[in-house]
């Protein structure tokens, strides 16, 4: 149990005891190892999207640092920010726009590392009616999850297109409406729906938003200001493991895909999808910058570009939201 936590441990233990009595099985409460337990809240269900973290776990990079990390899966009703604020997770995988929104609502977050240098959001379309540049969006029906509306608005603003030119159709996060002809294109991650379509034998065109001025760091590591002050060594150890895991991932994405399948036999993962997704996210996570400085790095310039895009998203933030001190210590 961490020394610091905004939620008093005695109360939480009381509740967990109650829930256990209520017949619920609770994982993670019985571990009694010497290593310090730390939870990392992932942003979605287990998949090769977090392959570097699985490699770090599997290859003992965290246990070597004296850290006993558990990776908590996310889901549609499992936002990353609440467990990090509550202190039930030491850190979380968020994205700069989500973090900015949370900070504007009073959450005390800092971004301590950036896994995806290029934002994975893309417009996917079919070759018969392709969207290759933002200008092609005019007059099109765009299917998207409503929660992503600010993403679209920022892309259109950066590229001087008015929102009225695009007809937004709220859809579940799913490629079927595109194939059914309900919409002409989809707003999605380049690494999920297009991969699913390709594995199903449907060719599609993807336009990466990051190539058209949408600069938002994604898969960012967030922690609270208080954790940065009081659980610093754990955060450094966490990021050290992440860096080593993701460098391994880069060297062999196929191994990461294979490990993901092995670690999560109950997750219903498709080997083909995992292998393709593993490859597709490499160019988003690794760049000249990471080549020079290492995984997760960010600079004043990349932060400035983010601040600019986030202002367009209606989420004004201070560059001080990004805190590189943990990465620097991890590297040092």
């Amino acid at each position: 149990m961490p020394l610091f936590s905004p939620m008093r441990p005695d109360r939480r233990r009381l509740l967990q005891g109650g829930l256990a009595l209520a017949g619920a099985s609770l994982a993670g409460t019985t571990a009694a190892r010497a290593a310090t337990p730390a939870r990392l809240q992932l942003s979605w269900l287990h998949s090769v999207q977090f392959g570097g973290s699985y490699l770090a776990l599997d290859r003992g990079y965290w246990s070597g640092e004296g850290l006993d990390v558990s990776l908590l899966p996310g889901g549609p009703n499992a936002p990353v920010e609440p467990p990090v604020v509550a202190g039930t997770a030491l850190a979380g995988i968020s994205a700069a726009d989500y973090t900015a929104a949370a900070v504007n609502q009073g959450a005390p977050f800092r971004i301590i590392g950036v896994a995806m240098q290029k934002n994975p959001f893309a417009i996917a379309s079919l070759p018969g009616n392709p969207v290759r540049s933002p200008a092609d969006l005019a007059g099109k029906k765009l299917g998207m999850a409503l929660a992503n509306m600010p993403v679209l608005e920022a892309l259109l603003t950066v590229n001087g297109i008015t929102t009225a030119d695009v007809e937004v159709v709220p859809t579940q996060y799913d490629a079927a409406p595109l194939l059914q002809g309900q919409v002409d294109c989809l707003l999605c991650w380049a690494t999920d729906l297009p991969v699913a379509m390709e594995v199903q034998g449907v060719e599609c065109v993807t336009m990466l938003l990051a190539d058209f001025g949408y600069s938002v760091h994604s898969q960012t590591y967030i922690a609270t200001e208080e954790s940065l002050a009081t659980r610093r060594s754990e955060l450094v150890a966490l990021m050290r493991g992440e860096i080593r895991g993701w460098e391994d991932y880069r060297a062999d994405p196929a191994a990461a895909a294979a490990l993901t399948l092995r670690m999560f036999p109950d997750a219903g993962l498709d080997p083909q999808v995992q292998a393709l997704q593993a490859e597709r996210q490499v160019p988003l996570m690794f760049s000249e910058l990471t080549e020079a400085e290492g995984f997760g790095w960010f600079t004043e310039e990349t932060v400035a570009a983010n601040v600019e895009t986030l202002a367009l998203l209606g989420k004004p933030v201070d560059p001080g939201l990004w805190d590189r001190s943990i990465l620097e210590e991890a590297r040092g």
Partner: protein
């Protein structure tokens, strides 16, 4: 399951399904039975493990939820003064949307199955509470007088009169709860689960894996159907025959008053607010995402932007209610109509009930794409989603009500060789009324939950869309304000139903009107 008479239509149906699926393969909507079978065969182990997880969570939630529903009903009938307050609080809790409760449950419990069990329990307690409450009162006045005349107190009345009277209603509640618990456990997996059928559904939908989506839906439907059937046997064991007597109206039924209900409502709102704030304080939940009533008040009333916040919320609520109303009425009509139809033609039950259970047990995120594909994203699709969500409890409640038609009355009709329709209209329909109104009450929150889901997935309007966007942007003040507004809207609708109920039941089933 007897002879070729039952098997042939089923075979025809599957053949039609196969043809339809193959004809629309390019649309990725319907999986062919052969593709589903192939998926089931190749992924049997994975699916069985997932089923084990989800079914176990559902079973635990089913147990706790039903116990809670029964306990609440007992409390309400033991302290009639508190009944309305308890009912309102139970309604509020039932109205809580997953987008608001999901993060709270997950933070409270950490990793594991607790949120899945909790959501399964939350999905069933209300639909057990209401019918059991009706049942606890469904006894003739003369029986209570008999107990009193022997000098026995209210406890004896509860044990000797009320509990036996409540058993058949409990049976209906237990049946309705089966698919709801299963669905609750699946949806609970959306709060970050390692395994289970709900988690696999998410994966299949995103992966465009149609056979997987449909295979999971088929499993959910079959398992729920089987459990529903078992609960039905339990129901017949609890309630082998219709009652012999017609409950008589008490002398001098009290006239309708408004002051009592109003005072109770104010008390219930105060109690609800205290409970809301108290629980969040007790567990020391950070108010970043666990907004207290005071935060909502500030956001909607005292904040500089309060006017704008209220306007956004009111616009969204208006859109939601415009869809929920017609869907609610359509679902009630469909449920009651189908119950009447099945009474006249009992043979149809074998075909209708499995379909009804299936529609209720499969998560709406899996059924919605098919409905939207078939009906579009307009009003028709939304109204249909709402009707699908509420017609099932209505159907089961009404069927159980029909089974409560007093034997003496049925004998009278039989002795005159009255045709089925007359029997239905004059004997069974009046007997249905208490159960129908219980269904109409439980359908209020169900309709709101259904319409908000459809808004989130298909139309992008209303409270459902507002909640989705608020959650994604950490706008928890708006999320909890929308939650509170939804609860109040449900309370208003519930009040309207209760008013209609009192007006009708004071004439047709006076024992139900709380004294």
């Amino acid at each position: 399951m007897r002879g070729p008479g039952r098997a042939l239509p089923l075979l025809g149906l599957i053949l039609l399904w196969e043809v339809l699926a193959r004809a629309t393969a390019q649309s990725f909507v319907i999986a062919a039975p052969t593709a589903i079978a192939a998926h089931l065969a190749t992924h049997a182990e994975l699916l069985l493990r997932a089923l084990g997880t989800t079914a176990w969570n559902a079973a635990q939630g089913y147990l706790w939820g039903n116990l809670a529903g029964i306990a609440l009903a007992l409390a309400a009938v033991s302290a009639p003064r508190a009944e309305r307050i308890l009912s309102i609080l139970a309604l509020f809790v039932f109205c809580l949307p997953l987008v608001a409760t999901g993060p709270v449950l997950r933070v409270l419990s950490g990793p594991g199955n607790a949120p899945q069990v909790a959501l399964a329990a939350l999905a069933v307690y209300y639909t057990t509470f209401l019918p059991v409450l009706v049942g606890l009162r469904a006894a003739p006045q003369s029986w209570f007088e008999l107990v009193r005349s022997h000098g026995r107190g209210p406890l004896a009345a509860l044990w000797l009169v009320r509990l036996p009277a409540a058993l058949p209603y409990l049976a209906a509640g237990l049946q309705i709860a089966v698919p709801a618990a299963f669905l609750g456990a699946m949806v609970g997996e959306f709060t970050g689960a390692e395994r289970g059928l709900g988690m696999l559904t998410l994966r299949a939908l995103r992966g465009l894996d149609l056979p997987a989506t449909w295979a999971i839906a088929v499993i959910a439907a079959l398992v729920s159907g089987l459990a529903f059937h078992l609960a039905g046997r339990l129901a017949r064991w609890l309630d082998p025959a219709p009652p012999a007597l017609l409950p008589a109206a008490p002398a001098g039924a009290r006239p309708l008053r408004l002051a009592g209900p109003l005072a109770d409502t104010v008390l219930a709102l105060a109690a609800g607010g205290l409970l809301w704030a108290g629980l969040m304080e007790l567990f020391a939940l950070p108010d970043f995402f666990a907004k207290r009533p005071g935060d909502v008040w500030a956001f909607l009333v005292t904040d500089a932007q309060a006017g704008a916040h209220r306007a956004r919320l009111a616009a969204a609520l208006g859109q939601t209610l415009a869809m929920a109303g017609p869907g609610y009425l359509a679902g009630l009509a469909l449920g009651a109509g189908l119950a009447a139809g099945l009474t006249l033609r009992p043979g149809l039950a074998g075909l209708a009930m499995p379909l009804a259970v299936a529609l209720r047990a499969v998560p709406i995120i899996a059924t919605a794409p098919v409905l939207i594909w078939a009906l579009g994203r307009g009003a028709a699709g939304t109204v249909t989603v709402v009707a699908v969500m509420i017609f099932f409890p209505t159907l089961v409640a009404c069927l159980s009500g029909i089974a409560r038609t007093p034997r003496a009355v049925l004998d009278l009709f039989d002795s005159h060789a009255a045709p089925g329709l007359q029997r239905l209209l004059w004997a069974q329909l009046p007997a249905i009324l208490p159960a129908f109104f219980a269904a109409a009450r439980m359908a209020v929150p169900a309709a709101i939950l259904a319409v908000t889901t459809a808004e989130w997935l298909a139309t992008g309007r209303g409270i459902g869309a507002l909640m989705a966007v608020s959650a994604a942007t950490s706008d928890y003040a708006m999320l909890w304000s929308a939650t509170a507004a939804t609860g109040l809207a449900a309370l208003a609708a519930h009040g309207a139903v209760a008013w209609a109920e009192r007006a009708v039941l004071s004439r047709h089933a006076a024992e139900q009107v709380a004294r």
